[in-house]
Amino acid sequence: MALKTPLYDSHVELGGRIVDFAGYLMPVSFEGIVAEHERVRGKVGLFDVSHMGEIELTGSDAMKFADYAVSNNVGRLKDGQICYTVCCNEKGHVLDDLLVYRFSGERILFVVNAVNTAKIHEHLLKIREGDAEIANISEETGQIAVQGPASRDLLLRSPMFAPVKDRLKDLPYYSFLAFEHEGEEIILSRTGYTGELGYEIYLPVAMTLRVWRDLLEEGRSLGAAPIGLGARDTLRFEPCYCLYGHEIDEETSPLEAGLAWVVKLKKGDFMGRDALLAEKEAGPARRLTGLELTERGIPRQGCTVFHNDEAVGCVTSGTFSPTLGRSLAMALVKSSVPAAAEGITIGIRGKSVPAATAAMPFYKGSVND
């Protein structure tokens, strides 16, 4: 039985094409993937991300335990700051990528992928140390992402955010603020998955539909419209953000997937550290590589990558980039393949299509504006 987010009825009303994603009935598109993609790059779009998982850690050891559970240096966060990280198993492979929010040393929030919420919750319970309560609050929590160059303007004109207007105006990337609205806590986070200036709003499920409708209405003259999962994927692909199940999974280490920057081996012990340290010393077996087809075709996940006719890896994500008009891919390939290798081809349905290496990220947006 597929779950519905609090915005399901609105998606159907607005003509969203509904698919089952990670056990949720979610809209894959509304007006069309390319039109939605362009709307977020140029104006502003609203995403229902209520399916994402929220796990709260509380207690006097919450921060210490969070730091042990993930690879990035959570201990360095100040109150109101966020970091992107991965949560690894003992083999140093990726159980999930996530955001870590520090409210205080005694209250930490993990935001995880819908498909992994139950797994991460169980994993945390299993490895728990010290005084840390672990609560899966996903079912009570709605989430709306407001993304695009006009996202700040939209929120600034929304009465709901009027009490925090000044703080919102200056909210730095990867920071958040929490405030009370109608007696409930709202979290506004300067984060996103599109490469553009953007925000994510966490709010109680009961309030989510009303806020969604208000934001669509308040943002209409700025071009705000709902965006489906299809464009969410192309938007994250162009700036080369990893997606669990594609670039990262339980067979992949963060060092292979270009995420060495979230692996802080010197911070002290954490889950997976020994394996990651050994892997770093030996050198990772594979490397995430950007590729561009030099002839027509679209590379897709699972397509084999060849170097001088030898199979050297697999496409993890690939599409025709709407912004750049190029057929691009990310692929995990053997580290022995030179960084700017020539003689690369991608097998696409039995045909061998020539490709060149392409610098990642493919696109840089307004994320820091």
Binding site: G32, I33, T234, G297, I298, R300, T319
Partner: protein, 129 residues
């Protein structure tokens, strides 16, 4: 091409026949399912095809579909416009977005395909599943 006058396959191709020439495209249902089409690969003119041979590829942003020939015969023309501008297929699936023209070996093959009404019923059944 008037959809009501076309025959249809289960794979959502349409065929419009004039004498022994079949114009072939994909239905508006198919374009809706595929989403934005970004790349179309078509066979060469003079290729001989059998009914329901895969003859081309339709790449959309999120997915890829094969094009099947609803009839046997020889390809006499391909639509260059949709190679240059694949979105033409989304915009005009029954007119400017046609794919190929085939000189049919046996126009009787059309009989095994859906009529417009049968195709609508087929779509209804699929939606009900």
């Amino acid at each position: 091409m008037v959809p009501e006058e076309c025959r249809f396959t289960k794979e959502h191709e349409w065929v419009y026949a004039e004498d022994d020439v079949a114009v072939i495209g994909i239905s508006d249902y198919a374009t809706g399912e595929l989403g934005d089409i970004v790349y179309v690969e078509l066979p060469e003119v003079d290729t001989e095809v059998q009914q329901m041979d895969p003859i081309g590829t339709i790449e959309a942003v999120k997915t890829v579909a094969e094009l099947f020939s609803p009839v046997s015969g020889t390809i006499i023309e391909i639509n260059e416009e949709i190679i240059e501008d694949p979105e033409t297929v989304n915009k005009s699936p029954f007119e400017d977005g046609w794919f190929i023209k085939v000189k049919m070996d046996d126009p009787g093959e059309l009989e095994v395909l859906f009529s417009y009404e049968e195709y609508q019923e087929f779509l209804g059944e699929q939606a009900g599943e």
